[in-house]
Amino acid sequence: MSPGILNTIEVILNGLMAGVMYSLVALGFVLIYKASGIFNYAQGVMCLFAALTLVGFQTGQIPFSHLINVMLGTNLHHWSSGMHSFFAIILTIIVMIGFAYIVDRFVLRHMVNQAPIILFMATIGLAYFMEGFGDLMWGANIKNLDVGIPSGGSLWWEDITRGWVADGTVYLGMYIDVLDVWATGIAVSLVILLTLFSQYTKTGRALRAVADDHQAAMSVGISLRTIWVIVWSIAGIVALVAGIMWGSKSGVQFSLSLIALKALPVLILGGFTSIPGAIVGGLIIGVGEKLFEFSVGPLIGGATENWFAYVLALVFLMFRPQGLFGEKIIERV
């Protein structure tokens, strides 16, 4: 095989794995949208907040230390040298469940029956609020997230692929980041877990009922509020997983919240209400972006990854507004 073909395969493989990372974020959106009809723009910031909290617990940071130092003149930073990643993750999950409960109590409860666009704008407000809050609580500097997932290029794969070219041609092997492979594996297991949860447990059935029809679910005795807290908690846990993946890749910093913007084209392609749609949409966007940048990018100046996903989603929207797997939108006068 020629280096050209191998490079294209490399771009496609990397695109698929990048797509899986996008789908992780999109998954949280789909969960909340299915169950409560809210498009949660704050999902990206939830990823950031979960990652910040995890690092904070891991390194033994005192929350709000900057604020306390300024107000009281003290000089506190850490209360311990940190804890093992496992316990930090458990604690962060508890924090995200608490967050879901608070959001339901103070925001969602008052916004029942509002127009979808008002709910969307409320989640934009929530995103800004959580961003300031997260920065206030744990500090805005870039943090290094390490839960033990190996990273870096896979030398084993590079060695294997180096032998695939004809003798004499110069080719240094295919670059696959081990972290991306782990992320793919974790995302697949997460989706399988979520699917098993929603199909075979009582709570999962209740979630599906609420996603179908709020009124009918209430009439058979399902407490809508409890279900919403559960859904937001699950979305928070998914956000934690996504935050760990993205944070391990590029550090925990403000730009993590911008992946919410990247997840929007994924959702449009896959459909807002479909979990497999989020995965497939993510894969398509990931591969499409990388291939476009690789093939057409150099001709028009590069850096097309910023907008290509949106243009792709836009073109898709013109022909299939509900996405690949979404429910058809029916409007009544």
Binding site: G132, L317, M318
Partner: protein, 358 residues
């Protein structure tokens, strides 16, 4: 008792169609305009001009434009930053290519060019609705910023990739560039704001405004009774983009002086203007002004209190501003979805009955 329409009979059609039927409202508005035109230019200084007055005027124009699109016509758009960039770059290219062209004409023409671009990026609205349209406008935002970064013709092949506003004179006084006196830039922006807000008010009161509101409320029913969705939606995009383009041109020429697309016209500006109209009040002309004033003044006020008064570091204050903005958005959407303008309307309603309870 004091604030009523009773006893004030309109004797002509013109009087009947006044924007402010109650005479106290008219006095208030005239007083405000008189102070703005005749008093402020004499007491203005550089600080007030640069940090309060010109930003409020420029963002009020942008908020007016976005309010026409989102508040009156119901088409959610997150592309405001990109359209402001179009306005800024059009004004730059026009004024560098035709230095003799009157600066007012340059700004108006940039608005016109932005209107064309707005129609182009508004075409998806004929097929897509709600937040799908918001995502489609995100495409315009990111694409336009990328375009102005990548294509050297836009920044006249300069080495830095930045555009700088050349000094231009209006009636012999510089209004752009470093030598512009504060009162000149202020009056220049005020001129545009006064004329264009009057235009906006009359547009929204008239036939076009009513067709926008019909599309916003129930677009299928509007189409059934004969309102043409194509003309209505595209006109909303066109007029809104005109306002945003003019605002972008003023933002660049008068306020910033030099601009770079990602920094000056990024997605955060789109969200900023959206927040202005949410807090100010969707579908309200006054709301655009209140929202713009609020979002400009609030960080300045907080900074003055916290950094100047309490001595806190600026990064802490920045986090508080984020939290406050987000919290206020949620608060307004829960408590008063129609924003501060609605609170003002309720105050006026209560005043009409005062001192009687009902």
């Amino acid at each position: 008792m004091l604030y009523r329409e009773t006893g004030d009979f309109k004797a002509s059609y013109t009087k009947d169609q006044q924007i402010f039927p109650i005479v106290q409202d008219r006095w208030l508005v005239f007083l405000f305009c008189a102070i703005a035109v005749f008093v402020v230019p004499f007491v203005i200084n550089d600080y007030w001009e640069k940090s309060v007055l010109v930003p409020v005027l420029v963002w009020a124009l942008a908020a007016l434009g976005l309010n026409i699109l989102v508040g009156y016509c119901g088409q959610v758009s997150l592309g405001t930053g990109g359209f402001m960039a179009v306005g800024a770059y059009s004004s730059y290219k026009l004024t560098t290519a035709f230095p003799e062209l009157n600066i007012i004409l340059v700004v108006l023409l940039s608005g016109g060019i932005t209107a064309f671009v707005g129609i182009l990026f508004g075409l998806p609205s004929l097929r897509i609705k709600g937040f799908y349209l918001a995502v489609a406008t995100l495409a315009s935002q990111f694409f336009l910023v990328w375009l102005f970064n990548k294509v050297p013709w836009f920044y006249n092949y300069s080495a830095s990739g930045q555009i700088t506003a050349p000094e231009r004179l209006l009636f012999g006084v510089p209004v752009s560039g470093p030598n512009a006196p504060p009162w000149a830039t202020y009056l220049f922006c005020l001129l545009f704001v006064l004329v264009l807000s009057l235009l906006a008010k009359n547009l929204t009161r008239g036939r076009i405004g009513r067709s926008w509101m019909a599309i916003r409320d129930m677009d299928i029913a509007a189409e059934i009774i004969g309102i043409k969705p194509l003309v209505t939606k595209l006109s909303a995009f066109a007029i809104s983009s005109f306002y945003i383009g003019v605002s972008g041109a003023l933002f660049f020429m008068v306020y910033l002086g030099a601009a770079e697309p990602t920094e000056a016209f990024g997605i955060d500006k789109s969200f900023l203007v959206l927040f202005m109209i949410i807090i100010g009040g969707l579908g309200s002309i006054l709301g655009s002004f209140i929202g713009a004033a609020f979002m400009v003044l609030m960080p300045v006020l907080l900074k003055n209190i916290m950094v100047g008064g309490l001595g806190w570091p600026t990064d802490l204050v920045a986090h508080f501003i984020f939290m406050l903005v987000g919290g206020l958005i949620m608060f307004f959407l829960i408590v008063e979805p129609h924003g501060l303008a609605q609170l003002w309307r309720i105050t006026k309603e209560k005043l009409r009955l005062w001192p009687f309870p009902h």
